[in-house]
Each structure stands twice: as structure tokens, then as C-alpha cells.
Symmetry: C2
Subunit: 582 residues, 2 copies
Amino acid sequence: MPKTLARYFPILTWGSAYSRDTAASDLVAAVIVTIMLIPQSLAYALLAGLPAEMGLYASILPLFAYAIFGSSRTLAVGPVAVVSLMTAAAIGSLGLTDPAQIALAAVTLAFISGVILLGMGLLRLGFLANFLSHPVIAGFITASGLLIAASQLRHILGIPAHGHTLIELGQSLIAHLPETNLATLIIGGGALAFLFWVRKGLKPALLSMGLKPRMADVLTKAGPVAAVVMTTLAVWLFGLEARGVAIVGAVPSGLPPLSAPSFSPALWNQLFLSALLISVIGFVESVSVAQTLAAKKRQRIAPDQELIGLGASNVAAAVSGGYPVTGGFARSVVNFDAGAETPAAGAYTAIGILLAAVLLTPLLYFLPKATLAATIIVAVLSLVDLSILKKAWRYSFVDFAAVFATIGLTLGMGVEVGVSAGVILSIALHLYKTSRPHIAEEGLVPGTQHFRNILRHKVETLPHAVTLRIDESLYFANARFLEDHILERVTNDKTIEHLVLHFAAVNEVDMSALETLEELNHRLRDMGITMHLSEVKGPVMDRLNRTHFLADMTGQIFLSQYEAWEWLRRRGKDTPTGVAAQ
Amino acid sequence: MPKTLARYFPILTWGSAYSRDTAASDLVAAVIVTIMLIPQSLAYALLAGLPAEMGLYASILPLFAYAIFGSSRTLAVGPVAVVSLMTAAAIGSLGLTDPAQIALAAVTLAFISGVILLGMGLLRLGFLANFLSHPVIAGFITASGLLIAASQLRHILGIPAHGHTLIELGQSLIAHLPETNLATLIIGGGALAFLFWVRKGLKPALLSMGLKPRMADVLTKAGPVAAVVMTTLAVWLFGLEARGVAIVGAVPSGLPPLSAPSFSPALWNQLFLSALLISVIGFVESVSVAQTLAAKKRQRIAPDQELIGLGASNVAAAVSGGYPVTGGFARSVVNFDAGAETPAAGAYTAIGILLAAVLLTPLLYFLPKATLAATIIVAVLSLVDLSILKKAWRYSFVDFAAVFATIGLTLGMGVEVGVSAGVILSIALHLYKTSRPHIAEEGLVPGTQHFRNILRHKVETLPHAVTLRIDESLYFANARFLEDHILERVTNDKTIEHLVLHFAAVNEVDMSALETLEELNHRLRDMGITMHLSEVKGPVMDRLNRTHFLADMTGQIFLSQYEAWEWLRRRGKDTPTGVAAQ
């Protein structure tokens, strides 16, 4: 029981050894992450089409929940860009206009997502996330980054443009371009330029001024806060609100509200698929960050426990006025680099955000939305990596097709179609590949006991026997291909008396393949050809032993291909046909 | 060009060598198949819920089309039981009552199916049929046989019972049981008993009377014709129609009518999925019969040309008042056994059926539907083979699950849900299996150069090195599993300095797996562990050579696992840690 408890509550493991030193490290990391997270939370809520305060709420209780249930020591959870975009798409498709209804849909989405993640965790279904291939994830993240950046341009320009695909967004932006608000463009463009400079030029400048690298890093991370402060002051001082600069406005001050998700079956039905995609994408993103950071300290994370940690975080978001959250890449790296040692750093960050929600919200009144849009654009452009296309192209056509389709469909048809199509396509392409296995005809490398492809190497062959090495497990999708290939090979060559199937790379033979082998045995027998197997693996042999196949097989099973060769060579010399053919 | 012509028109190949002897053999076979096919055609049309003459029409022009385009020498096409059941389900779901509309839907279904098959043939998509695994097909055929038999009981009992699932049929049969018509039951039960006796007892009786086996076979095949003649006479002589025995009634006499499918987009939309399932199931059934028969004469069939042959047959059915057809198992075996040598036998059979349609239809007026139902029941019960469940159970749980689900869902939710769920489930289970590959930790068998699983064999290991053999191609679905497994193994064992991945059974490394290997290399490096590969296959090596992975890898690539072992053993002696650990 204590062991089970420790599995589901990782806090019991690290909490019992918590020391003052660890607390100090965690506190320092928490301060830095808090500074980074305040503008991000507000910005991502804006991206999700939600009021700014929901971003703050999503950064408080979920962090406590993750600190209790999460298995990563340094993962920082909260609202992230891609999940915010997916939230916007999911809620946008409902066609709601009442802000209360939109907020209810957001907490419901977080709740369903939390339930899905908890369910997957308890049922140990974390492996399902593996069906998102790396090319699909990379393509999806890149395309999402482009979509997010495009969607934020309207805030920089101060125009009402909307859309869930690049085409819709582009058309809408062009149509509204003449309405561009100059004051907004100056604020937004200025913030964008400043943030790009902070990202590229500030750290070298600080270092050359003699600052310590650690300090330079912290100041660089505070760039967005500086932009927020400067542009807010500018709007207030120059009365830019009257000139059409959109501002965040009144943000309710105080503790996160208690909220309850809707349990309307119609709403659940509409949101379920979106919540599933958000859960899986969020989990994949989070786990890869967590694994990368854990490996650096020779630690391990438990993927199924991560599902529980993230599920608890999303349920926490749902009951405290938030929206779907997951582990973020940038903030987790910052947390790690700043020295966080336990999930307590996340709890301290939550306290920081809580203080902000209680104390700082009045100061956000004049914060221009253009500044938040600029922080988003700068953050997401680092996600865009079109070099994946070139890399995949060089590596294999199948991987390229998966990346290309995912990027194209995400940009052209939205996030949900894009990622679903990517998953289906990569599974389909994988099945297609394995349905046409590589089959090599082998000969003996002279003077050795090694066998190689007769098309690639100078090898010896026997005139009355053919050896085929099958480079794939045999299952229903390739069983008929194997049969066709073998029959094609032997039908036109009347000298063949023996066929050896070299099974060294056959890791599995399913029932369809077994039946195909049985049929093949009969068909070859009808043609006067004896079928042998060589180098059958233990687990495959165990399974074949449960059937009549081995008893019915016309030929033998050889432990090694060389043994098969020696046996066939002796047979060839004994039988007149073999000698005549030579 | 002539070569291409010959590929798409197999008739040009066998037609040019057609002799009088071949014609004689084909004619004999055609007579026997015609006798068998007349009652079958009528019966299957009844099963499909169509007028009896549509069964005859489906057995004329489609046979000519197959003779021209088909690649099998002995396949006999026409209406078959399972496809007729699927036709009934497809048309039943439209909720039509007007007979003209039902007939139009049937020819449209044949046309769409023909177009799908032709399209798959021209695009060489025959391999798609391989995704129907043997357990799914076997389960589907067995469940269909049970459904068909249950659906025909109403004709034997003379009651109006309907339904597309076993539950619906059973409830309906029980509800109507009190209405059983005694005269119908006597005719139907008598025909059933007679046909079972013909199948089981007639041939031995004839043989013991001194008949030659060939003649005994022919007489046995004529059993259904005898049942038709006897029961038709009985109805006519005793006026059983007045006693409530349902009869076929007026069947139009003459050549098949010219018909045109509907091109209504709404109807195509409703029928498309059904047509696709009918095409694929029909193709799979047909190809397996054709392959079995071709192999007996060391002939080959061309699966993609079979698609064209069956597609042309279905289009032919659509323009001549028929409904979906495919190659039938029983009649093809009869055709083969009766000595058919070329597809011309099919054309002669078509002429026989044509004569029947022109001359015999008036004689069918008093044919009782119960007799046709009896011929169907006897025919389909040979399809039912529940031993597949036991066989699959013994072989593997995954195959058992696929059979069980297919049978259960086909019986419980109908043919379309059953077969679709079977396909999806077998793909899902296959992906699940390959997502958790077998990974064996290896050691050296003392005194040899062979390596075996340390859990199964007494082997030598090195204290500072671990060798893991991966028994699966590496792709996105199992990349993370591999990473987890390896990190799990090395994280808790601080003595490990070297990890060798034995790649002999790795037939592919996709881009996701490549990135996982890259990450693994970095993570292991961070832990102070060197990663090596051994026995990497040519095609995998070719692909890895296009990347930076091999250059970045901390360790080496060994041609053989023994070479890796020798190198590691020397290293172990050189480095103090290795010695200390020993």
C-alpha cells in the first residue's frame, strides 16, 4: 500500500527528503519563472480567445496539483501556446458569443481533458501518445506556430481579423488591412522589435557590460515584463486608449473563483474530440520536455504518472476558472536552468502568480493587447522549424510525406484536421511499408558461413534450391505479398526443388501468416518443391509448435542457414536432378 | 503495346492457343456448373431481397466480362451468398418499398462496386485487401453464414420475419412462430432433409451402386435441381399455393434487360461504403479461391488484373439487370474438378444460364421459395466454421480477439459494422503489439560466438556493459518504448559504462526512431554511458548514413555482436573501473 501510494503521489518521495537548501534553490527558480509566466499567462489567454485573468487562474491551482501528482522534478505547467490555439479552435467551433458561455466552455474543456488524461493514466494508456510520430509532431508544432503568429498580427495592426486556417486568416487580414490603427501598430511593432532585440542582442550586450551569465539570463527572460511595463505606461501617459489602442481593461482582482464545468451531454459531445486531441498533444509535448530534463540528472519520469499529474492539473484548472494546461517547454527549461530541484518550485511559482492575481491586476488595466500579441509572436516563432521538411526529405519519403501533409493540412484546414490527418497518414504509411517487406535472395559468401543478398554480393548459389531472407515480421498485411513473391519466384523456374525461408529477422508470425505458410507449403508441394525454414526465433518457434504446421511441413527446420546450405548441397549431389542442373 | 494489351486482356493469351480439346473440356465443365448455378442464382437473388430473375441476369453478362478480363483460368463468377447478404443489408438500409427503386439500387450498387474494383485494379491497389486478416475473414464468413441461415428460416416456416442482426432475426422469428404455415414447413423441411442427405449420403450410395466417382459427383451437384423440380411439381400437383406456400411466381422470360445505374449523388453517397465493403470482401473471397486453384496447376493469377476482371463483371451486371457478383468458392471448385481449362468455360456457362432465362422461366412459376431457402441454408452452413475460434485461441490472444470481435459484432450489429470493426481492431492490435517490442538482454554462450537471452540461457556477461537485442523494426509507435526500456535498465545500475544495441532483427528505423536514438545517445552520454550498435542491416545503414547520427554517436558500429563483445572485453581489462567492477 505505501508503495502504491508513493507511485500515485510522487510528492511523498521527494517531500520526505525536502531540506532548507532544496527550498532555497526552488525559491530562486520560482521567482524567475513567475516573472516569465505573468505576461505569458495573460497573452496565451488572449490567444485562446479568453479573458486575461483566465490565464492567471490557469497558472495557480494547476501548479499545486502538478506538484503533488507529477513525476517530473522540474516541469513547469500552465497555459502554453499550442494548447491555447487548440482551445481557441475548439471553443470557436461552438459559435458562442456570450462571455459567460465561452468561459464555461473553456473550464469544461479543461475538465474533459483532465478526465481523459486521468483515465489514460489509470488505465496505463500512455503508449497511445506514441502513435504521434516525430514528423507529425514537428510538422504540427511548426504549422501551429505559423498559425498563432498569423492570428496575432491583427492585435499588432489593431484590426478585426479572424480565422482558423492560414487562408482564412490571410484573407481576413488583407481585407481589414486598410483599417490598421497607427497607434496600435506603433505600440505593437515597437514591442515586437524590442522583444526580438532582447532575444538576440540583449544577452551579449549585458555580458559585454560585465554582467555574470546567470544574471544576464534572468534579465533577458524579464524582457516581456519590461515590454509590458513600458507599453502600459505609454498607453496611460499618452491616452492612447482614446486613439484606438485595444487594452486589457478591468481584470478582476483576487483569488481564482471556484468554477464548475458543464455536464451537458451536448457540450461534452461537441468538445470531446477536441479535448482528446488537446490531451494527447499536451501530454506528448510535456513528456518530451520532462524526459529531456530528467535525463540530464540521470532521473526518470513515469509517463503513466505524468498523465495523472497533467490530468489532475487540468481538473484543477477546471475548478478554479482556468483552461487547459500542460507542461511548457520554455518555462520548464528556465525552471531547470534556474536550479529548481523539486516540484515545490512549481508550488512557489503558483504563490507568485496568486500574489500577482491579487495585487497586480489593477495595474494591467492599460496593458495594450498588442504587447501581449508581440510576446506571443516572439515566443512561437521559435517553434517554427521548416528545416524538418528538408531533414525528412533527405531521410525518407514516407517521413517527408507525413511532415508535409501535417503542415499543409494544419495550415489549410486547421489544427484538429491537421493533427488527426497526420496521425492517420503516418499509421497508413507505416502499414503500407510493412505490407511490402524486403525479401532478399541469399547466397553463401565463398569461404565463410555468411549469407548475403545475391544482387549485392558475389555469392555461391545451389541450382536446385532458393533461399529467401524475409526482412519483416509476417502478419496479415504482408502475408499475401510474401506468398505472391515466392510463387512468382518459383513458378517460372522449373529447376527449383527446395525453398529455404530464412527467418532470422522474422519477429512474429500471426495467424494469417501461419495460414499463408500452410497454404504455401501445400502449393509448393503440389509443384514438387520442398519448403524449409532456417533460424526461426524462440518466440516464433514456441507459437508454431502449438500448430500442425511444423508436422505438415514438407521440409525441415534448420538451426542455422549454413546448416541448411550444407544439407542442401549434400542432397544436390545425391539426387540426379540436382547434378544434372549443375 | 501488345504486352500491355495482353496484361489487361488475358483472353488474348489463352484465346490464341484455344483448341478443340480444350473446348470439349470447357463445355463439359460448363454444363455441370450451369446445372448447379440455376437454382443458386434464384436463391441468392431471394437472399438479396431481389426478384429471382436478377439472379439469373447476374449470371450471364458478368461471366462473359470475366472470361475476357479475368486472370484465373477456372474461377466461376456470379451471385454468391455473402455478397448477397451484404447487398440485402445495403439496400435494406435505404428503406425502399417500390420494387423498381430496389432494383435500381441493386444495379447501382453493382455499378459502384464495379467502378471501385476497376479503379483499385488500374491504380494497383489490390494490396489493400491484405488488411483483411485471415481471422477477420474467417470470423466474418462464419458469422455471415449463421446470419444467412437464420434469415432463411422464415421461408422454411412461411412466416414474415426480418432483421439484419441475429438478435433482430431471432426476436422476429419467435414472435411470428405461431403463424408457421404447415404446407410450407413440409415442403421446406423436406427439401432441407433431402439436400442434407444428398450432401452426406447420396455419393456413397451411388458409389456402392457401382457408379463411377465422376458421375456420382455430377449427380450429387444436381441435388438442388432435383429438389427444385420435385417441390415445384408438388406445389403444382397438390395446389399448395392455395394452402399458403409462397412461390416464385411469374419470372419474366427472355434476354437480360438493358439497365442503367442511377447517378444520383445522394444514392451514391448512401451506397458507397457498402459498395466498398462488398468490393473488398468479394475480391478477397474470389482471389483466395482463384489462387488455390491456380497453384494446383502451377499457374499464377494476377491480383490487380483480378480486380479489373471482377470490376468488369460488376459493371456488366449493372448494365444487364443484375446485382453485385464475385468469384464463388463452391462453383469454382466444381468448375475446376469438372475439367475447365480456360475462362471460356465461364462463357459457355453464361450461354447455359441465358438459355434457362429464355426457355425455363415459365417452369419456375410454382417453384416454392422454401426450396430456394433450403438450398441456401445447406450451402451456407458449410461456410460456418466455429473451430476457428478454438484454433485462434490456441495460437494467440490477439488473433482470437480479432475473430471473436468480428463474429460477435457481425451477428450482433450486422455485416457492415462487423467487418469494419474487425479490420480496425486487427490493425489496432497489430500496432499495439509492435509498439511493445520484445527486447532481450544478451550474453555470450560460453565457448561459442553466439548470443542468447540471459533470462533463458546460461551465458556470460560483462559487468560494465549491457547488450540489448531489439526484436522489432523501430518506428514511431515503439521508439519511446525502446527509450523508456533502455533508460529504465541503465538508470538504476551505476556500473554500466557501455550499451550495445544488437540490430540484427531491426529491419527499419524511421525518422521518429532515429530521433529517439539521437536523444538516447545524448542522454546516455550525459549519464557517462557509451552507446554502440552491432549487426546493422544494409538498408538501415544506408539510411543512417544520410544523417549526423553515426558521426554524433558516442560509440562504434560493430559488424558482428561477437566483435562488439571482444572489443568490450578488452576495454574492460584496460580500464580500472571495469576491473574493479569485476
